[in-house]
């Protein structure tokens, strides 16, 4: 399941909705990304997330489908927020549910790595010097490529 929304999300509620009525699930892994108040040595007062409606949903669905092909998952959820966020706010949630922990751990990491390099989101940080578009990190591309080799 995927959701692209401006509203916040509640981890406990989402996990309960995913696992309710499915006692075959024995493992749940969740990742939450938060807005930090500092980038390098620059103070961030807020962050605005822009995205490409339509393609965002399409990419997230493709990534999720691939995770289900690679691992035996009973359920999964990706929520990504857009709009203006403040330091400490939740940006992204990835939850994976499987019978055993390994599939849940690995697929959660896979989904985050792919999301970071494929899903069309862009971060604009508000700094004391004005708005600054965040540059992509080489490390994110390397993290994705790691899954292509394995």
């Amino acid at each position: 399941m995927i959701r692209v929304q401006s509203e916040d999300f509640d981890l406990a509620l989402e996990v309960r909705k995913l696992t309710e009525g499915n006692p075959a699930i024995g493992a749940v892994t969740a990742f939450i990304g938060l807005v930090r108040d500092i980038a390098g040595d620059t103070e961030i007062s807020s962050m605005t997330l822009e995205h490409y409606p339509g393609m965002t949903e399409k990419m997230l669905r493709e990534i999720e489908t691939e995770a289900h092909q690679r691992w035996e998952l009973d359920a999964s959820l990706i929520i990504h927020r857009y709009g203006q966020l403040a330091p400490g706010d939740q940006i992204v949630l990835v939850v994976t549910c499987s019978k055993h922990r390994q599939a849940a751990f690995e697929s959660c990491e896979f989904l985050m790595d792919f999301l970071k390099t494929k899903a069309p989101f862009w971060k604009l940080e508000q700094t004391p010097e004005g708005g600054k578009w965040v540059d992509a990190r080489d490390g994110d591309t390397e993290a994705t490529e790691r899954w292509l080799k394995s």
């Binding site: 822009e50 393609m55 992204v92 578009w133 540059d135 992509a136």
Partner: protein
């Protein structure tokens, strides 16, 4: 053709989308990137960093040699930074 621009490309070109009739000699993504600077100085400036840019055709990532048509939706944007 509908063209969409995102992030700093959007602010440098000064619009988020536009409808353009392609000249007949623009057949591929690469042709489009070569031709866009003819639309004005802001395009020339924005496309100086074209090696960085990513292209999507009908909401899928596309290579430079992919063929495009007037009925396509083409998006041009910097590397993504979500998550």
């Amino acid at each position: 053709m509908k063209i969409l621009y995102f992030a700093w490309l959007r602010t440098e070109i000064g619009k988020s989308s536009e409808d353009i009739s392609l000249p007949t000699n623009v057949r591929t993504v690469n042709d489009l990137l070569n031709w866009l600077p003819e639309l004005g100085n802001s395009y020339t400036q924005a496309l100086k960093k074209r090696d960085l840019l990513r292209i999507a055709v009908n909401q899928d990532y596309a290579d430079l040699d992919q063929e495009i048509r007037d009925s396509d939706e083409v998006a041009i944007f910097p590397p993504v930074t979500g998550g």
